[in-house]
Symmetry: D2
């Protein structure tokens, strides 16, 4: 197939916003796509400044995302996809607008606030024949691909237990006397902006999506215990999980766990082996086969094969990190778009990025957890 540049536009993500810059760097790793249009900020100076920094054609810098979707859709050299890196509450409306105008979507997580919205986006994408990715960043790590492959190949047998954690400490000052003040005083306590959940929506969903991505297991129901410490939304959540195959799981997420920065970890226990991975040391995967000593697999080593090898960028021992994880998602997503543009059918590897289905189950998971938490941890179904 002939290579042509994938063009993208961005909604949100002006120069001072964190995650927009991360996306641009990640896309730049492989020149997966090039930025051609943007609506980076409702503040005109921020919008303009960002556009100039990336040398955008003035005519493709938009004050309004609706205008952007409409005008771009009519160009011959229109953007192939839009990257949505706005505040969470806007994800749904922006994504919908671009889908309606026939433009593929990469959306930050969480996908949206309501299950109905999520299903509507899914239906729309299907109807229009569009790809819809959700940026569950950590699933992009090379060693996560290896973990997924090992499980698919039956290396650890049937899964019997799962332990997932996501611990942070950055909201610890919300506890105690000054709790009415600082960080949560902004949008995080305003349900219209933050949605119904703080900790689960922000980090708990990463556990959910990661476990599903690696194992393929579907959650049947959950029982959640939430701690708000006097705030409108929870800062800590412990969740019991029932999977469709009979396995059990425990997910623990916290933003008040001193000593932990961004400590996402997953451990998958099977009848023949176990896998353990920790986001802060993403180049390692601990693999134990029954009756044998644990082994420490290292990204980039010769014994690493399959997708993990295909997405490898650096020789073993040269650490990759957070940017590479997102870059891998974009590389795959853009590769799929290129094939699609060329009329080539997509296979499973082409679609190996978190898709709207992951976004939907994320929204379901958040709702179920909050409902359980409000009802004294009673079991709540997560199934459709």
């Amino acid at each position: 197939m002939e290579k042509r540049i994938i063009r993208y536009g961005m909604v949100g993500g002006h120069l001072n916003a964190f995650i927009g810059g991360v996306h641009r760097i990640a896309i730049g790793f492989d020149q997966s796509a090039e930025l051609f249009a943007g609506c980076f900020s409702p503040i005109e100076s921020e919008n303009t400044e960002t556009a100039e920094r990336y040398h955008l054609d003035r005519s493709r810098v938009y004050k309004d995302y609706k205008e952007m979707a409409q005008k771009e859709s009519q160009r011959d050299d229109k953007i192939d996809f839009v990257a949505i890196v706005t505040p969470n509450f806007m994800h749904y409306e922006v994504a919908k607008e671009f889908l309606l105008h026939g433009i593929h979507v990469m959306c930050e997580k969480p996908l949206c606030f309501e299950v109905d919205q999520a299903l509507e986006l899914q239906a729309l994408a299907k109807e229009k024949g569009l790809l819809f990715a959700v940026d569950y960043a950590y699933t992009g790590n090379a060693m996560i691909k290896l973990a997924k492959q090992f499980i698919a190949d039956g290396e650890i047998g049937d899964i019997v237990g799962v332990s997932g954690e996501y611990l942070q400490e950055w909201l610890i000052d919300e506890l105690g006397e000054q709790s009415d003040t600082i960080k949560l005083s902004g949008w995080r306590t305003n349900p219209k902006v933050a949605g119904i959940s703080n900790c689960i929506g922000d980090i708990g969903t990463h556990i959910e999506s990661m476990v599903h991505y690696i194992t393929g297991l579907t959650i049947k129901r959950i029982s959640a215990k939430l701690q708000t410490f006097g705030h409108p939304l929870e800062l800590n959540a412990d969740i019991l999980v029932d999977y469709d195959n009979g396995a059990s799981g425990v997910y623990a997420c916290s933003q008040v766990a001193i000593g932990h920065m961004n400590d996402l970890s997953v451990r998958i226990f099977g009848t023949k082996g176990a896998l353990e991975w920790r986001q802060e040391y993403p180049n390692d995967l601990r693999v134990t086969r029954k009756g044998q000593p644990p082994q420490l697999y290292s990204r980039g080593a010769g014994y690493v094969t399959g997708r993990a090898a295909a997405l490898n960028r650096l020789p073993s021992g040269h650490p990759e990190g957070y940017f590479e994880a997102i870059a891998n998602i974009y590389k795959t997503f853009a590769g799929a778009l290129a094939k699609k543009n060329a009329g080539i059918p997509l296979d499973a590897d082409d679609l190996d990025f978190p898709r709207i289905e992951s976004g939907i189950s994320g929204v379901r998971f958040i709702h179920a957890a909050v409902e359980s938490g409000k009802n004294d941890s009673r079991w709540v179904s997560v199934e459709p």
Copy 2:
């Protein structure tokens, strides 16, 4: 006070039994006590052989623990305490017999099967003015003393969350096709012998007692999810915990977690700091104070003070292990007996060993967990 030898007898613990030998080695570390009497096994040859190995006076080797309690209680040089290292189902009856005869007790965990039994033993000990220790071995580790001291001193502020784990892999072969065969086929599946619980009774209670020992927190209620994998008793349990101070906890215990040998760990999160300890690396304590990097405290170092220093045996960097933990419990227990014998009042440090109250709350915990597990994880009170 004048030093006199503390004499002890043992019920159970013949030469081929594991835990009896551990107790004898632990006692030997500090010559905390000397073995003078025993009823090591119902099998006469085992009983005799063990007695000979330790050069016991023939007249103090008993076929029957009741005879032992009675005869010893009448001697001028009677044993000061009995160490009970029988199978679990005998703990209650043996402990009761020795208490009735005025002999102090050190009993393996779990204390007994029923809460009523536990309360009866407590009342009896109180009535007779006897000391009653329960061997929650891991609480004897020096670094656990340091953790307890830090919390008591307010170093980590108010506790907001607890994470406890005890993961083992040794019953993994119980899963799968051969599951009707091997290890569980013995006493572990017979409720008369094993009690109502396997995994929680065997290892889960160590989490419960350890967290209580370090933090002083009392559990209000728990919600437990048990997995039996087709066996009469559970091999895996995940438990949500509500403490009296409003904190939440998660306890996870498993005997089918491949890659984990005897992996007891506790993490205590507070408003000002956090403590983390892992049994397999017992000489380290990870301490994080709010806004500072984690610190790795090392047993025996100059900055280690208090009880942790008092119980220290080796210079820093010379690892202590499992035996030392139990030796510390015995050293403290025997020290308390010596003081008591000498008519000296006991202070808090003298009584710094797991006592019958820990045993009682352990039995309560097991019952609550099993009840919750059988009732779809509903919350069950653990309070008296």
Copy 3:
């Protein structure tokens, strides 16, 4: 100062070459500079293909680096600097050519083969008033900045000892029967291409430059033991080091150390504290102050200040890696060029990248090590 784009050209680094792509990605992280010219390969198709991938103006794609230096130097929009990523043996001649034409230089390490060459380049750069950077990639890590700052601030007192290691396993198949075959059969065994050293030149110099960068210590003399295992050049080297302040060091580097991928580590011991850093886990810095427990500093945390904070890209717990280290070097280098272009004097922070002085001492170090190795490890001076 007004921001203008820094333009760069590249010599070497066609699409299939490893390190050229790494440089381009690293530059792209911060849009530190933009690629305007290149002489990527002597093979025309490779050269063209690379140029097209980066949309270069045809007129600035050169078959010959001399032509490139000359023609670029005459343009109004000439490149600000050239990135030299050719095989090692060409570094000297290419660097010299661009310096002669008034173009700043970023050169891969090792700078060149001979000390005289290195000094010539230094003199030339000075004469022309040009900046000359050498890509000792690992010095770009944020936590290395913190280590340097701690030492400069006297946090660990006077340095008394240094331990540096760089262990790899990738040449292990050179040992044994097949040793006449594979990897070393190429340029690595040809002194005209590889220079006089294999292991020390390739990885040992990273230890040397890193220790110097962090500590500021100057090496007086070294004693080296080299192992060639039957090859023309060494695969393993152990080196004793005498520093100017009286401290001692040991540097060990190996390409046949099974179990180690790219394991560069440095430990600096002082009278008041010690620092330890390991390249494979670059976001951590272990700091021990006398009489206190070791602390694990984490990149991006609030307690990280100074240059380490200034170069930070991601919140703590979001791992950065190898690319970011090089990106930091380029960001600083390009920032210095921008200031220079604007006529602003450069301060120490502006010049905080490995400069030609590091390159020179690297060449001296290699020569001294080889000379010592060939003379039964006698001490050889490294001083000018």
Copy 4:
């Protein structure tokens, strides 16, 4: 064979001395022997007090070790061996005396000060047919047995490199202004008491003996760089090593390495694999086979076999430590004595404890290191 108690006496090791108590506890682990005689201290009260604590027969408490050797040798129930735990400078004379009287010897390291003395003791032991053990404690660790077995079985192929370290921080206060005061002011700076070496004699020899024990390699020559920091004896030493098989090694030992308590580690690199072990975490052995991920072997696990399994005391995950290492040496030594007493020939496993040959090579090593250190690190032969 019929089991009879092994009797031992002790010279040195009164109650307030550290290492004597360690030996008694270690012996007590397995009741390897029983204490029947002693000359614990030249201070009568210390001697008596220690004897009483262990209920020794008054007639077997001696003021003088010569008297002890003589009188014990004439008893029917004489001690089988003497444990020598005196200050180093007395080792030779005490050992000689007991050998002359036909009593087996277990001696603390270093064996003695002079090579001639060591050879004399060896000749004497041989002549008298006596066993002579030297307590290189760390060789007793179970996982060291596994390491030795792996190498003997060819699991890592031919050894090509060795890295040994022993880092401590406890003499750090000797640096700086107060250096004329504290710790070194005692016997450590008096060559008559301490011998010719401080750091190498105290800890460096542990590296030497450990590497030899595991690998069987013999050192040909060494090149040592010593740092005294103004003291009579060295506090730091870095040593290059030439082995008889052509392999190279680096040994680094220090008592002024802040952040390290008792950090003995050895790494053995071979053509097919590598082994790494660290004393502070003695239950783990890191094993890497060529082309495979590192594996973490755990003491007590089912896959651990041979001597490591035979000497195992606790199930996997129940940490053993320093005491167990010495207990293993005593268990083996006492077992050999029992066999010898019974007239049973001793095989290699029976003699699997550090013997006088290890002591001799330790003395040679110290002398060579000091000679090299005093002669600007020139190579000095260690061969007989």
